[in-house]
């Protein structure tokens, strides 16, 4: 019965209700978007780790984040192989190089990663297929997400990298994360050609793959026992936490999106409250009439809460659908791992319902004062 009354109120003035639902829709969409950004943008810093095959990571004790990792002696990798559960240990080298764009005559910084071609470092068939091409001297693979300022990224183009003539052997698309304007992959040998000052004996990261069934935490503990103080051992979970923490607390990224999240929450709540309480205030004469007819405040309160829940739910469904669509658009455009999950959907719905009920209760105060005599 209450539901019917509430539904009648929604259906009564479809234009007004539509407008209110539109407002709530915007508020919910905003929350979804900002939540998505907040959760996924720091993950942009994990783009490469997410795409790499490893169970444990060896890094320098001076490691700050992936773009500033310092180096460890390569023999730490061989030391790690002494632990029986460690199946493979691959070296990863990286550095920043000056890429000269002939057309613009400007030099840009790009991030270059040098891989040991014998190991299978990337979990990306697109890269694996093209790695063979890197056996040729002075060749690189370029990420297609690199900035257009680098010029055309086509196989066969010759460019100048660190004042060395280098050929683009192919492209792949993984994304550049937050590492810089562009990313290039090359073999470890080509890496030392491009950076003559770098030696293969100083590696940036050691990627360890364990025997199937080995517990990474146990192996990490035994590695920590044998490694000197210059080396840190990360499990996947630890490096995830470390990088997320870096982007959220040590840079402005967390601040920017934290701000956005806070704003979205406040704005969402304000709109929800405003819209719903206006809807209820507008029906005040009708509610007063019901009151005059003898319906209790409790009954009217129930109607109002149901009204609020109906309206917010009607808004929620398309908002969630549009959010999923927007997520995939953002994912394509920025390569950020922004995805909808059931926890977020449930969380937003809970917030929306909670806020709807709260707005209804606020509006009820007006209703309680509603005096049939005054209204007519």
């Amino acid at each position: 019965m209450k539901t019917l009354v509430a539904w009648r109120i929604v259906a009564h003035d479809k234009g007004r209700s539509g407008l209110a639902i539109g407002g709530v829709f915007v508020a919910i969409l905003l929350m979804f978007l900002q939540l998505g950004f907040y959760a996924s943008v720091p993950r942009g810093g994990l783009l490469f780790y997410d795409a790499m095959r490893f169970d444990l990571l060896l890094a320098s004790s001076a490691y700050v984040f992936e773009g500033q990792s310092s180096t460890i002696p390569r023999r730490r990798l061989f030391q790690a192989l002494a632990v029986p559960q460690v199946l493979r240990a691959n070296a990863l080298y990286h550095d920043r190089a000056r890429w000269l764009n002939d057309d613009e005559r400007l030099a840009r910084d790009i991030f270059v990663m040098g891989l040991d071609l014998r190991g299978v470092l990337f979990d990306l068939p697109e890269i694996e297929r093209r790695l063979e091409a890197l056996r040729q001297p002075d060749t690189i693979l370029v990420d297609t997400a690199s900035r257009p300022e680098l010029g055309a990224l086509v196989a066969g183009r010759r460019i100048e990298l660190e004042q060395r003539n280098v050929t683009i052997a192919g492209t792949y698309s993984l994304g550049t994360g937050f590492i810089g304007l562009g990313v290039a992959l090359t073999s470890d040998l080509n890496f030392t050609r491009i950076f003559p000052k770098r030696s293969l004996s100083a590696v940036n990261l050691g990627l360890l793959v364990l025997e199937p069934g080995a517990d990474p935490n146990v192996v990490a503990a035994s590695l920590r026992n044998i490694m000197p103080a210059d080396t840190r051992v990360f499990t996947r979970a630890e490096i995830n936490d470390h990088e997320m923490n870096h982007w959220v607390t040590r840079t402005s990224t967390g601040l920017v999106f934290g701000c956005g999240l806070l704003v979205a929450a406040i704005v969402g709540l304000v709109i929800l409250n405003q819209t719903l309480s206006t809807q209820i205030t507008r029906q005040l004469p009708q509610f007063a009439t019901l009151k005059a007819m003898g319906y209790s405040d409790g009954y009217l309160g129930g109607v109002v809460i149901i009204l609020a829940i109906i309206m917010s739910t009607i808004s929620y469904v398309p908002a969630a659908a549009v959010a999923v669509a927007l997520y995939s658009m953002v994912r394509d455009a920025t390569k950020l791992p922004i995805e909808m999950n059931s926890a977020r959907m449930a969380g937003v719905l809970a917030i929306v319902w909670g806020m709807s009920a709260l707005s209804a209760l606020v509006a009820l105060r007006v209703l309680r004062r509603a005096d049939p005599v005054e209204l007519f």
Binding site: L181, V256, T278
Partner: protein, 412 residues
């Protein structure tokens, strides 16, 4: 402060222009400040309405302010260079990209007519590692260097420590660097790129997109730490910037042209203004900060419009009988429209002022927390006011239909 005085004068002129067209001037018919009274009719609701609009204004102001602050952070170091023209390698695309050129070009620049002096700045971004003196952890840092006999930086602390900078292995550090860099008061001994360095003072710069902290040293200390190889006697080290001061009485552009003529094609000659534009442009196109804050501002605008629409709609609905009565008395629609728009402008102003007050306070706190040069510049405030007024007027235009449709016969 100048921009504020200038801005205030402009606002004054605008207000005067408004007054001259105000409907309240002359004629007894217009004597009742209808919009004003309408707004004040329900004080409690007024408070709620104003806080809604103030929130939207605050939101937009902070978003615009943050955007400007992020871009400004990258310009701070340029503002603190004492010169009119900067000479760099032609391939250098931003301040913090290592791209040195031969110092002999600086001597060629000296010979150009109108050049008061041309002085070197050395820079290192890739190799420099700073050790936090407290935690002993290491972080990359930006190192700038100059000849203490040819000062180029405007930081007052740098100017005061020229004598001490001549001592070997001394440096000034940024007291606004990120917290992870630790506190390095004068006298602190720490490490720069694994060599011992003594801090003799601090200046205030703050982090930007690329540099989390900055160290300034003398050219001799710098070359000892970062020269790619030992320099032969009399050999000149490559430099990052040539800072040119133009002699009084010469136009900067003329000297710039003359320098371009005198220097080879692998050298770029840009005025300081051009460098500021280049750096701003780089941050705008490359970093995602611009679009993110634009989105934030747009959200603030839309939300503000929704709030002010709600506010005005509720007001107009409540006062519909009054409007209908006025209509029945023979007032024309234009009068009512004007009253509604006026009321919307009052709301905009009433919401904007507390929003501004909170924004100024918040900016102080946030600038300390985020180390960004966040301040409510005239441009930020004026843009926000225009947006606030725009959103209220637009909302009024939408809500107005109700008044125009009010039929005296229907209302009673």
């Amino acid at each position: 402060m100048g921009q504020w005085a200038d801005g205030a004068a402009r606002i004054g002129r605008f207000a005067a222009a408004l007054r001259s067209t105000s409907p309240r001037r002359g004629g007894t018919r217009r004597a009742v400040p209808l919009a004003w009274r309408n707004m004040l009719s329900d004080r409690r609701r007024l408070l709620r309405s104003i806080s809604g609009i103030a929130f939207a204004a605050l939101l937009m102001m902070l978003q615009i302010g943050f955007r400007n602050a992020f871009i400004d952070s990258a310009l701070q170091v340029l503002y603190n260079i004492d010169g009119d023209i900067l000479i760099t390698s032609s391939t250098k695309f931003r301040f913090a990209a290592k791209d040195p050129f031969a110092r002999r070009q600086l001597y060629a620049a000296h010979a150009v007519d109108g050049v008061a002096w041309a002085r070197p700045i050395y820079g290192e971004w890739n190799l420099a590692i700073w050790k936090n003196p407290q935690t002993r952890k290491t972080y990359s840092t930006q190192v700038l260097a100059f000849d203490p006999d040819q000062p180029v930086f405007l930081f007052p602390e740098v100017r005061d420590h020229l004598e001490q900078l001549r001592q070997p292995d001394t440096a000034l550090s940024d007291r606004k660097a990120r917290r992870s860099y630790g506190f390095a008061d004068a006298g602190t001994v720490t490490e720069l790129t694994r060599r011992e360095i003594r801090i003799i003072g601090n200046f205030a710069l703050g982090p930007d997109f690329t540099a989390d902290g900055t160290v300034i040293t003398s050219d001799r200390t710098f070359l000892k730490f970062f020269a790619p190889r030992p320099l032969a006697a009399g050999e000149l080290a490559d430099i990052e910037f040539g800072v040119v001061k133009v002699r009084p009485g010469y136009a900067i552009e003329t000297v710039q042209q003359a320098l371009k003529q005198a220097l080879p094609a692998n050298i770029a000659v840009r005025t300081k203004a051009e460098w500021l534009a280049l750096e701003t442009d780089f941050q705008n196109t490359v970093s995602p900060v611009g679009p993110i804050f634009m989105l934030g501002t747009a959200i603030g605008f839309i939300v503000g419009m929704m709030i002010s629409y709600q506010v005005l709609y509720t007001d107009l609905s409540d006062q519909l009988p009054q409007y209908a009565t006025l209509k029945a008395m023979g007032y024309e629609n234009t009068y009512l429209v004007r009253a509604v728009l006026e009321q919307a402008s009052f709301y905009a102003l009433a919401g904007f002022l507390p929003g501004l007050a909170v924004a100024v306070g918040l900016a102080h706190v946030l600038a300390d927390v985020t180390l960004l040069p966040l301040r409510m510049s005239f441009e930020t405030v004026a843009t926000t006011f225009a947006l606030t007024l725009g959103m209220c007027l637009f909302a009024a235009a939408l809500a107005m239909r109700r008044v125009l449709a009010a039929d005296p016969a229907d209302v009673f």
